[in-house]
Subunit: 228 residues, 2 copies
């Protein structure tokens, strides 16, 4: 066997046929490389891929085992909204609805772990696909961390796009929910209040400092695709 | 700098301060290792991590650039339903609602790319958290690929759990949507028809053969968490 894909398939076959059972320690990379007559790096690539899908559990010193309780992993790509819309073959449009600077409500302060009274930039904007509302961006930005957020012209560029080059983040979290859209959001999306909308809430951090938190409310019918 | 984390942070700082701008080619690993006074493998680890978050674009021959249009990536973990419920601190319960073997409707046949008349195993089951419906599993299994699916006792073990050890897959896809729950699904979940439910549709393959397709309809209010 020469390619990592062939080794990947053979290892998968052994797991599948239960030659290697859940919980079993499998041979080390050196032994497998010898058995398959290939480079150790090729075995490594195959095992790494199987570990990423959760079928193998690799530990530096304890070796590699067939996972007892595999956790499947799905990778969701989060492109720029403009790109997402253009990739779906539609013409991109953008409209700023409101822009304010002031204290945030308690729920936002809690999400960003900031103190009462700290002024934040609050933006409400609609992204359009072929002139039809696609999603509503409801965003709070921490201007103490994101320099220029108070003066940037968000009538011309969305915060989604502007932040990309002005405020990289080190980590963050994403929550996905199905929610009945509240009246104001539904109105902006030109649908009926209470319709089921896919809502993505994303908060990002630059080390210990909150950068931004955003709610992206999609028009009903939106599908989020991912590969396993 | 000795650790890959320190190098990661320094590279991030240079991107952040636009010392390295979007689209810029950055120095190669050997030069960076020399500059930082560390092993090339340490630089590699740091750059790999930044490439995974989408901030760097690494090409084997063309070198590493600061990404022009970064695509964020979120990883969603898909545990066994039993584990998901237990991890949320609830007691797991399971109830098979129906089990049939027969031809599938056109939409299912299309998703699985199988021919008319091929009999499939159709299961409808409710997973419970603390005796309350948590999600409805509506699943079709291809028994030509999954040996034993026609005779397995799904009153005692869910297909979600049984398939884990009886039918590994090579790849698959996942779609996430917010949908008004149809009457039958809503009834099984003990909520009102039309309520917004988070619906995950997952189809898996063993090479070119379809293994199974499943719709997991969550009770309204369910949140799917992920890290960035």
């Amino acid at each position: 066997m020469n390619s990592w894909q062939e080794i990947h398939d053979e290892v998968l076959r052994r797991i599948h046929t239960r030659q290697w059972k859940p919980g079993d320690l499998i041979p080390n990379e050196t032994d497998l490389a010898q058995e398959f007559g290939c480079a150790r790096a090729t075995v490594n690539r195959a095992l790494r891929t199987l570990a990423e899908t959760g079928l193998l559990d690799r530990r530096r010193k304890a070796g590699t085992r067939v996972t007892l309780h595999p956790v499947g992993k799905a990778v969701i790509e989060i492109p720029l909204i403009r790109r997402d819309i253009e990739d779906r073959g539609a013409r991109y449009g953008y409209r700023l609805i409101s822009r304010q600077i002031g204290p945030a409500p308690a729920s936002i302060r809690a999400a960003l772990r900031i103190e009462t009274g700290t002024p934040l930039v609050h933006l409400l904007a609609c992204h359009l696909a072929d002139a039809r509302p696609y999603l509503l961006e409801d965003r709070w930005i921490n201007p103490a961390v994101v320099l220029g957020a108070e003066t940037a012209d968000f009538t011309r560029i969305s915060a989604n796009e502007w932040l990309l080059t002005h405020a990289p983040y080190t980590h963050g979290n994403l929550t996905i929910a199905a929610e009945p859209l509240p009246p104001q959001t539904a109105a902006a999306l030109q649908v009926a209040a209470g319709d089921a909308g896919l809502v993505l809430t994303r908060t990002t951090w630059d080390h210990a400092s909150a950068v931004t938190t955003v709610r992206l409310s999609h028009r009903p019918g939106h599908l989020l695709h991912s590969t396993l």
